[in-house]
C-alpha cells in the first residue's frame, strides 16, 4: 500500500468488538464489513476483517458483483454482493459513521446513539468503521439499514523481544587467553592504583608506619612488580592483535573500519544519549562505540606504562634501555611525567564505573551479553538476528 511507507511486518491492525445496531448480531456485522471489501484487496484493514469474518462464515458463499471505491467526498465505498446458493443480493456500504448514517436515514435515537458512541468511545487511536446494508427493490429503489460500526486501529509497532523466535545459538567471542589477560590486567590496575595512592598519600601511610618499617619499600616493590607484569600483559595483548585467530580480537576490531560501522557509531552514541530509542545495530564483538572507547583505554594504559617506566628509569639512567626513557624525562620534565602518571591512574579509576555500568547494561538492557562473554567466553545469540560483524 502506498499509504504506508513502512514494512508490512510493522503494521498492526486491531479490531475491537463490533458494535451492532438495528438488532443485528456481531457476527452479521463482521461478515457484512468483510463483504464490503473490494475483491482481491491488499489493504491491511480489509485483510484483517476478512480474516476475522472467515472464522464465522465461509465467505466463499458470496461473490462480489460490483464495487464502487471510496470517494473522498462521500467517504464511503459500496460493494454489491450476492449469496451464491440463494441468489440473494445485497449492497454493503462502509465508511465513516456519519457518512453511513447519512446514507441509511435511521431514526433519531439510533443516529444519536451511534454518533455519540463513535465519538466518545473511540480513544487510543481507535476509529469507527461504519457499515450499512442495503437491499435493492425490484423497482430499483434502495433501502439501507445501519448495521453498526467496528472500532479499528492501525498502529506501527516494533516487535518485542518476547515475540521473536526463542531459538538461540551459542557463539564463542573471546578466547581464554584474552579473558585471562583482561582479568589479570584488572587485578594489576587495581593493585597499581592502590599502591600508587598509598605511596602518594601521607594520611594513609602514617597509619601503617610506627617506627621503622619497610612499609613504603614494600609498596614500591609491589608497584614495580605489578608494573612489569602489566607490561608483559600489554605485550601479549599487542601480539594477540596480530596473531589471534579470533576475528573479534584482531587489530581491525580496534576501531570502525567500514563506512557502515562509522554510521553505526553515530547511531549507538545517539542511543546511549537517549536521542534515539530504536534498537541499535547488533554486533557479536564490540560495537563501534565500544571499539573506540576500549582502544582509547588501551592508549591510556600504554601511556601509564610509558610514564611509569620513564620514572622507574631514573634509578639507572645509564641502562641501555632506560637511557632513552631518561631522555624523555629530560624532554618533558620529571615532575610533569609524574603528573601525567597520576592523571592516568585517575582516568582508569573514572573509566571503571562507566565500563562496568555499560557492561551490565549491555547484558540486562540490551541483551548483548557483554558481561557474560568476558567471563564465560561466549554469548547466546538469537537465531535470525543480523550481526554486523558476523
Amino acid at each position: 500500500m502506498s499509504l504506508y511507507d513502512i514494512p508490512e511486518s510493522e503494521i498492526r491492525i486491531e479490531l475491537e468488538d463490533p458494535v451492532p445496531f438495528s438488532g443485528r448480531k456481531r457476527r452479521e456485522l463482521l461478515i457484512a464489513a468483510a463483504l464490503g471489501a473490494p475483491f482481491g484487496t491488499d489493504d491491511p484493514v480489509d485483510l484483517a476483517l476478512l480474516s476475522a469474518a472467515s472464522k464465522k462464515e465461509d465467505l466463499r458463499h458470496y461473490e462480489q458483483l460490483a464495487f464502487t471505491p471510496l470517494e473522498p467526498r462521500l467517504a464511503r465505498s459500496v460493494a454489491r454482493v450476492r449469496r451464491v446458493d440463494s441468489g440473494e443480493e445485497a449492497l454493503i456500504a462502509r465508511g465513516e459513521v456519519d457518512s453511513i448514517l447519512y446514507l441509511c436515514h435511521p431514526d433519531e435515537a439510533t443516529r444519536y446513539r451511534a454518533e455519540m458512541q463513535a465519538e466518545m468511545r473511540m480513544t487510543h487511536g481507535f476509529r469507527a468503521l461504519g457499515v450499512g446494508r442495503g437491499s435493492v427493490a425490484p423497482d430499483g429503489s434502495e433501502h439501507w439499514e445501519f448495521q453498526g460500526y467496528i472500532p479499528v486501529r492501525a498502529t506501527r509497532r516494533k516487535s518485542r523481544r518476547i515475540e521473536e523466535p526463542a531459538e538461540f545459538r551459542y557463539v564463542s567471542v573471546w578466547d581464554w587467553q584474552l579473558r585471562v589477560l583482561h582479568w589479570f590486567s584488572v587485578f594489576l590496575i587495581l593493585v597499581l592504583s592502590a599502591t600508587g595512592l598509598l605511596m602518594g598519600s601521607g594520611r594513609l601511610v602514617y597509619s601503617g608506619a610506627e617506627g621503622f618499617t619497610n612499609y613504603l619499600s614494600w609498596l614500591r616493590l609491589v608497584h614495580f612488580v605489578a608494573g612489569w607484569l602489566l607490561l608483559c600483559a600489554a605485550i601479549l595483548r599487542i601480539a594477540g592483535l596480530f596473531l589471534a585467530s579470533n576475528q573479534f580480537q584482531r587489530w581491525y576490531a580496534l576501531f570502525p573500519v567500514r563506512v557502515r560501522d562509522l554510521k553505526n557509531l553515530v547511531q549507538v552514541a545517539l542511543n546511549y544519549l537517549f536521542c534515539r530509542f530504536d534498537r541499535p545495530p547488533h554486533y557479536i564483538g564490540h560495537n563501534p562505540l565500544q571499539q573506540v572507547a576500549y582502544t582509547a583505554i588501551f592508549g591510556v594504559g600504554l601511556l601509564a606504562l610509558f610514564t611509569g617506566f620513564a620514572l622507574y628509569a631514573l634509578y639507572d639512567p645509564g641502562n641501555i634501555v632506560f637511557r632513552y626513557f631518561v631522555m624523555f624525562d629530560d624532554l618533558v620534565g620529571v615532575q610533569y611525567v609524574r603528573l601525567a602518571h597520576q592523571f592516568v591512574m585517575w582516568i582508569f579509576l573514572a573509566f571503571i564505573p562507566i565500563h562496568v555500568y555499560l557492561s551490565v547494561r549491555a547484558d540486562t538492557v540490551e541483551r548483548e551479553g557483554a558481561l557474560s562473554s568476558i567471563v564465560s567466553g561466549g554469548r547466546w545469540c538469537r537465531k535470525g538476528t543480523h550481526f554486523e560483524d558476523a
Partner: protein, 393 residues
Amino acid sequence: MNESMDDGWPGSEGFRDYLARRGVTRRDFLSFCGRMAVLFGAASLPGGGRAFAKDVAERLSGAKRPSVIYLQLQECTGCVESLLRSGSSPVDRLILEQISLDYNELLMAPSGTAAEEVLKEAEGRPHLLLVNGSVPLNDDGVYCTIGGDSALNVLKRAAQKASAVIAVGACAEYGCVQAASPNLTGAVGVSDVITDRPVVNISGCPPIAETITATLTYYLAYGHTPPLDGNGRPLFAYGQRIHDKCPRRASFDAGQFADSFDDENARQGHCLYRLGCKGPATFAPCATVEWNMGQSFPIKAGHPCLGCTERHFYDRMTPFYDRLPGFMVPGLGVEATANTIGIAAVAASVGGVAVHSAATVIAKKRAKKARPETLPLAVLGDTEKREDQDKKT
C-alpha cells in the same frame, strides 16, 4: 694576573715540583688524590680506588700549568662565590689559584682596557675555557655586554682556540633562571653556542666546589675531559641520584614523611619528599660529597632538594615545596592538584552512571507506556495528504 701572583706556577714546572716548592707535603698531595679518586667513583673501577688514586697522583705530578680563561657572562656570580668560600684544602686552593687564571672578571686586578688586552692575549694561546652564566641572544645580545661587546661574541672569540670548554653552573649549562619561562632575554647555555665540540657541563645552581676542582684535576691529569652523561655532565659526579644516597632514605622507605617544616616528623629528621624534595629525580653528588668540605647539604640540613642540577629546574621542578605541579582549572582560576581533579572525575563518572541508569529506567517505562504511532486507514478514506495534515497539527 700573572703579575699579581708572583709566586705562581711557571709553565715549565711540573705540578708536583711546584707543590714541593710551595711546601705541600707529599702526604697532603696523596690524600688529595685519594679524595679525588673517591669523588671520581673510582672504588668501583677495576683495581679499586687505591690504584686510581696512584694513577691520578702520577699523572698530576707531571701536569703542566694550563692557561685558563674564566668568563662570567649573564649570571649572579654565585658559582664563583661558592668556589671561593668552599673552604677547600690547600691543594684545591692551589689548583684553583695556581692555574694560570689569565682572565676572570671577579678575581682579576686589572680593569678596563688593561683587562681587555689580557683577554685578547690569552685568547690567542691554547687555553682552558671556563664559563659562568648564560648567553642572551634576544635583541642582538644587548642584555649582557662586556667591554662593549655582547656575551655571545665574547664567548665565541674566547672559545676559538680553547682546548676544552667547561660550562660551570646551571646558567652556563642551559640558562637557568634567566632561561625560565618566558625567557625574556633569550638566554641559552654555552653548549647552544659552542656546537662544534663537546662542552662539559658542571651542573648546579651553584655546583659543589669539589666537582669543579675534580673536573679540573681530571683535565690536568689526563689532558682530556672526563666521561659525560647525556646532558654533558661528568658522570663521576652526576651519575648518582641524590635519592639513592640520601641520609633520609630510610625514612622514605619506611614511609615516614614530614608534612610541614615544623611538625614532629620534620624534627625527627624524616623524609622531606612530601615537602617537595626533588631528590628522587635529581642527579648530583650532594649526598656523598656534600658542601663546604663535607659539612652538610640541603636535605641533611632539613630543606628539600630543589633539583638545581636538572635542566630547566625553575620551570619543571616547581613548585619547589610541593610534590606535584598544580593545575590552573580554566574558568575557575583555582590551582587544583591532580588528586582533586581525579576525585572529581571519578565522582563525575559515578554520577554520570547513576544518572544514565535512572534515565534508562525512565526510558524503558515510558517505552512500555507509550501509545504506538497511529496509522491512517484507507477504508475510512485517509490518504497520504491527510497524514501530512495530521503531522502539521
